[in-house]
Amino acid sequence: MSKVTSILLSGVGGQGAVLISKILTNGFVGAGYDVKQSENHGMSQRGGCVTTQVRFGDKVYGPLFGKGQADIMIALERMEAVRCADMLKPDAVVIVNDYRQDSSLTASGLAEYPEGCVEAMQENFNTVVLNAEEIATSLGNIRCANVVLLGAACAACKELNQSGIDWESVIAATVPPKHKELNIQAFRAGMAAAAQ
């Protein structure tokens, strides 16, 4: 079987994983790959975890993958990185947003938000850590944090940066024209952060 690359996006409803997966799939489709994408819809609008899976290769069968199968993870929230750690291959590349979003349990004091999420990922995986919200805010709009993370992933993962895809033009073609400049800057800032 030819090589299939499996990417996992994990975060909390409303964080913007949808745009990341849209840019990724647009890039892969444009480059002529077979692509499948799956997301867990469900009750995400109501504060739950959201995961999206994107797979590309010459021929992709499963729209879904299971534990120990992801090559790349982009975690939009640090506790969600830990939650999905068992989905990763041991040599996976992980991009972790060092950002905390409370769950209703931790917000109301019924449970403690866990310490050491980022460190646990760093100890076990090839991990890139950045604070995408901080970077996005410095660019003038916190909402482009998702594209900052995508930039970091494209810098850190050979499957993405050696795919022959010009990610900046894919972004330009995917986002609304008025957000184009901002998102390209966010992408570049993410790449730079990952290179440090």
């Binding site: 504060g47 993958f65 646990a120």
Partner: protein, 583 residues
């Protein structure tokens, strides 16, 4: 050019290309987006939200009697509601094509059970078609129409969440335009009276035999011979998983027309391999049929029948392949879903939560989340429209057992009221139930992502509709004390509950405030803020169960990004430490 699209978008495209003219549905995950996308073709396909699935199925069936190709779509449990007309439509047969989409949900991502609706195909004696990706979702709609017309039968089009919601590449085709011939009455065919049953049933039995034979050569079923050691029979998403993980010399019989089982084809395939596996999601449906045909195979004892499969699970359970993983030493905390900040259902639940004398008979909708902590306000939930009637049964049980200490409130939403609640509301006044019906009217079908319903004033096609007034319906049924209240006004809400409970005449409550996510209202939100100097750390504000309210450094804290300024937490604060900004 190929398009990356979800199975539901592809089915919608298939509806268009197949020349279907009438499409009716009741929303339900994972089927909802089919008609939300089909309505893009409303110049060619009439699309509507029906009040419930039985109505949707009957409308589509009527359209097929009228001569048009027609389709209805629903989630798995919706077919239970719609089953009655389906079984007899199976006897009567069709004029134009008639396709029933059942979107099953292995893994119960958003459903109250995991029922495998292929069993309905066997039970109703109609063919079942199962697509395995988005391209097939589109192409098989047309194939389903052709089978329906060729074999004079309704066709069950069974998908699963993963097929409905995952995206893969699709190549488009042209629409076939079909003009139905002028209507001709054919009572013999379409009137189901006992005198005609025997003849019709005989025809149905023969039809299923013909379809089993047709399955051997149908392009929906295909054989890929790669070796003689191992063969796999598979359908739907499970085919993709098996294809991914079995060795390259594995042979496949991929079934797209899964019922009736093409026995001759399976026998032939089985005879060419040493070992036969059946890989399917849900029940061991194909496995049972294959074994009943005397063919040896292995299936559910390895794959399991609970939950959703994926490539790793198929590899692990069937082939014993291990995918190494690493365990990280940090334990994540759960993120249970909660009512949104500003949700108008919160006020009602806060008012009744913790009251030992109240029983809350619940229903399916966003308000199902009233069952989660800290509100924990619901006693039972079973199905859409079940709250009024279950509450009635409890009331009659208490009457017979001699218990008089409980007051029963039965709750459901505006969409659920029209789905199935009206019959329950009728039951309560007709048979004099000691139950208070409560309609939590948020002016939209929220749970499934904001679909119009008979009370919203709009149709799926975007036309203005006559908005049915729930209070007028209740009045007509015989409710004499109809209390309409803003649930965000906690004092008024409490009074409404107490007045209804004390009412001597049939009473009901309608809580009325639109869903905060409703975009067309352009709602202007404010923010609530905490005065930490006034806050006495009593944590009463946490009792409303709002995701925007938390405790930070021992004091109440409101997340500005989430708060919409509904003031429910402020009304609960005993010292007035929470205020709405600018007021």
């Amino acid at each position: 050019m190929k398009h990356l699209m979800s199975g539901n978008e592809a089915i919608a495209r298939g509806i268009y290309e197949a020349g279907i003219k009438v499409a009716s549905a009741y929303p339900g995950t994972p089927s909802t987006e089919i008609l939300e996308n089909a309505v893009k073709y409303k110049d060619s396909v009439y699309c509507e939200w029906a009040p419930n699935e039985k109505v949707a199925l009957e409308v589509a069936y009527g359209a097929c009697i009228g001569g048009s190709r027609s389709i209805c779509t629903m989630k798995l449990v919706g077919l239970n509601v719609a089953a009655d007309p389906m079984f007899t439509a199976a006897y009567n047969g069709v004029r134009g094509a008639f396709v029933i989409v059942s979107a099953d949900d292995p893994g119960h991502h958003s459903s109250q059970n995991e029922q495998d609706n292929r069993n309905y195909a066997r039970h109703a004696k109609i063919p079942c078609i199962e697509p395995a990706d988005s391209q097939e979702c589109k192409d098989f709609v047309k194939a389903a129409c052709e089978i329906s017309e060729q074999f004079d039968t309704p066709v069950l089009f069974r998908t699963t969440t993963r097929v409905n919601h995952s995206m893969s590449l699709v190549e488009f085709g042209e629409r076939v335009e079909i003009q139905a011939p002028p209507y001709v009455k054919d009572a013999q065919k379409f009137v189901c009276v006992p005198a005609f049953v025997e003849g019709k049933h005989n025809k149905v039995v023969q039809r299923m035999k013909d379809l089993a034979e047709y399955g051997a050569t149908s392009p929906l079923n295909s054989v890929e011979m790669n070796g003689s050691a191992v063969g796999v029979v598979a359908s739907g998403a499970a085919y993709q998983y098996a294809k991914e993980v079995f060795p390259e010399d594995t042979s496949f019989l991929k079934l797209g027309l899964t019922y009736p089982l093409p026995v001759a084809l399976v026998k032939d395939f089985a005879s060419k391999v040493d070992k036969l596996y059946v890989i399917e999601e849900g029940d061991g449906f194909l496995e049972l049929e294959i074994k009943a045909a005397g063919i040896e195979c292995v299936g559910k004892e390895l794959t399991g029948e609970v939950g959703e499969l994926n490539p790793q699970l198929v590899a692990e359970r069937v082939l014993g392949t291990v995918f190494p993983t690493k365990t990280v030493p940090v334990k994540p905390v759960g993120r249970p879903p909660a009512l949104c900040p500003g949700c108008p259902h919160r006020g009602f639940f806060y008012t009744v939560s913790g009251k030992k004398d109240y029983i809350i008979s619940g229903d399916i909708g966003c308000y199902g989340l009233g069952s989660t902590a800290p509100l924990s306000a619901i006693d039972a939930v079973v199905c859409m429209g079940g709250s009024f009637t279950m509450g009635m049964g409890m009331a009659k049980s208490f009457m017979m057992e001699g218990y008089t200490d409980k007051k029963i409130f039965a709750i459901l939403g505006d969409s659920t009221f029209f789905h199935n609640g009206i019959t329950g509301a009728t039951e309560i006044v007709y048979n004099k139930g000691n139950v208070i019906p409560v309609i939590l009217d948020n002016s939209i079908t929220a749970m499934t992502g904001h679909q119009e319903n008979p009370s919203t004033g709009f149709t799926l096609q975007g036309d203005v509709a006559n908005a049915v007034k729930i209070e007028k319906v209740m009045e007509a049924l015989g409710y004499q004390n109809i209390i309409i209240v803003d649930p965000n006004d906690l004092k008024a809400m409490k009074k409404a509950v107490e007045d209804a409970a004390a009412s001597e005449v049939p009473a009901c409550i309608i809580t009325r405030r639109p869903c905060v996510l409703l975009k067309r209202l352009n709602l202007k939100f404010g923010k609530c803020v905490v005065d930490v100097d006034k806050c006495i750390s009593c944590k009463k504000c946490l009792k409303v169960g709002c995701p925007a309210v938390a405790i930070r450094d021992g004091k109440s804290w409101i997340d500005r990004n989430q708060c919409v300024g509904c003031t429910v937490c402020a009304q609960v604060c005993p010292v007035g430490a929470i205020e709405k900004e600018g007021e």
